[in-house]
């Protein structure tokens, strides 16, 4: 209800300290497992399959000892987008999407015909479910992984590709900084909105008034971009002041060591993906 508290609804990019199997997992194993689970989400088109995936995502939240209400909060800002997506799909797909499917609803007014088929309805439900699953999985991943672990994990996983001139260290650094800046920018946007509201700026005006809302963002976006650039510059200076020269010859404070428990997680994720791909779910 506090119209300006943005950070409360952002679960990506935050770390939630806890002592759980997922928190202790080797970041490399966790990244691989997350990729496999995300692949399973992407390649499962059936309703039953998505029900299974939703259950699996909720199980991950539980295993990671993350309060369910907090994990679900990340959905709040996305609700208008989800609804817009569903409306678009219902209005415009019509018979173009799987013409063989049976018509559930038809409405005609002058030259306008709106047709909703069973296949489109299924698509609407599946895309919403996929979105929720993806958000839960990525939230659980970032909530249980420290940024340093994430960097080390990505770097270590990309190292074999260095022969192909993949800048492993630099890519890992870019990802880390991007994730780290999400809450920082959210806080700054919050501060700017409050400052502009204090001098007559109007925000909100209904969750559904998209055009108004976008126009209201301008007094926020301009200073926010300036701020991001300035923060970026400060970061560069701070890194150079600590003699950062890139990845070559750099050693890490934590040395990753994976045990059988870590690879078990990857195996479970792989088995899960295989099961989702091969299971004879009703179409």
């Amino acid at each position: 209800m506090n119209e300006f508290e943005l950070l409360r609804n952002i679960t990506i990019g935050q770390y939630l300290p806890a002592d759980s199997y997922l928190h202790r997992l080797d970041p490399r194993a966790k990244i691989l497992a997350a990729i496999l689970v995300i692949a399973a989400v992407t390649f499962t088109p059936s309703l039953v399959g998505n029900a299974c995936l939703l259950a699996a995502a909720l199980a991950l939240v539980r295993v990671g000892r993350i309060p369910l209400a907090y994990a679900l909060r990340g959905l709040v800002p996305a609700v208008p987008l989800l609804v817009l997506l569903a409306v678009m799909q219902l209005l415009f797909f019509g018979r173009n999407y799987d013409p063989t499917s049976s018509v559930v609803f038809q409405w005609r007014w002058l030259a306008v015909t709106i047709v909703v088929t069973a296949a489109v309805l299924k698509l609407v439900v599946v895309s919403a479910a996929r979105f929720i699953e993806l958000l839960l999985v990525t939230s659980v991943f970032t909530l249980s992984t420290k940024t340093t672990e994430l960097t080390l994990g990505i770097e270590s996983l990309l190292r074999p590709f260095r022969r192909l001139r993949v800048p492993a260290h630099e890519l890992a650094l870019v990802v880390t900084i991007a994730v780290r800046f999400v809450p920082t920018l959210a806080l700054e946007a919050e501060r700017l909105m409050k400052a502009q509201a204090s001098r007559g700026g109007r925000f909100g005006g209904g969750r559904w008034h998209f055009v108004t809302r976008v126009r209201q963002l301008l007094p926020i976006l301009v200073p926010l971009v300036t701020y991001a650039l300035r923060r970026g510059e400060e970061l560069i200076v701070a890194m150079e002041a600590r003699a950062y020269t890139g990845g070559t010859g750099r050693t890490a404070y934590t040395v990753l060591a994976s045990g059988p428990g870590d690879w078990l997680a990857v195996c479970i994720a792989a088995a899960f993906l295989a099961a989702m791909l091969l299971a004879p779910f009703p179409a």
Binding site: M1, N2, F4, E5, L7, R8, Q14, L16, I66, P67, A69, Y70, R73, R191, L192, K194, A195, Q196, A197, S198, R199, G200, G201, R202, G204, L218, P219, V222, P223, Y227
Partner: protein, 307 residues
Amino acid sequence: MTASHGVTSAVGARAATGRADEALIRVEDLWHTYMAGTPFAQAALRGVTMYVCPGEVVGVIGHTGSGKSTLIQYLNGLLRPSRGRVVVAGYEVGRSNSGIEAVRRLVGVAFQDPEDQVFEPLVGDDVAYGPRQLGLAVDELRARVRWAMEAVGLPFDAFKDRYTYTLSGGELRRTALAGVLAMRPRVLVLDEPTAGLDPVTRSDVRERLLTLCRRDGLTLVLVSHDMDEIAGLADRVYVLHAGAVVASGPPREVFARPDALAPYGLLPPYPTQVCMRLRARGIPVRGDALTIEEAGAAIAAALRATR
């Protein structure tokens, strides 16, 4: 804990009475928790009660993390009370959005480092952002922008078409303050308004704020951790610690008991400390000096008396 003393005006001969029953802003038993409902929840305010009367200068002092910045967000309805009450000019701030714009027009808030919020390329346009939202006629708009810019010491004709990125830090701060002033609020809430400015700009901004207060009847709420600044300006102060008001009253009374402030890591202003130490050494100096000028006068008087 809460203040209900009658107040003697500390600065000049203003008619600031500071009685709770004629308050412009009243905060009663206000509680606030950040990130409520998440694992990061943290209490910031624990039952704060305060009031602000018309024409007063009210100081809010406290360390970083004491809840000052949270408190001022309630004064113009940026945060809505979920526990406790906030009443601004008879309007109770609640969850409804009706009337909230009137509250924000009545109470102008400038946060710490307000220059960060400047977003228009030209100084004049940025100051005009707020009044423009009110749909004023061009003449009125121009008059307000001129008044606000002159009030903070930016000559209108010389600065209105300057690019904001060419301004110095002090000029940017003035621009941001003018942006809030241009809304013509009755209460101006400033969070560390002079922090990070050079001493000359600092005292100039301070003087101008006091002028606004005396000449235009503007009510000021100053938030700071700088005791010396608050002591010289405020009619009444509230001392915040860990989200609660631990002392309140006219600065002379609050700072007269340094032992009461010490547990909260707060020291009286330096001039007061100097006088108190002189007294401790047996030199009969008045102990209630708040500013360098008062301390100077007190010491001079003591010297004349002992001679």
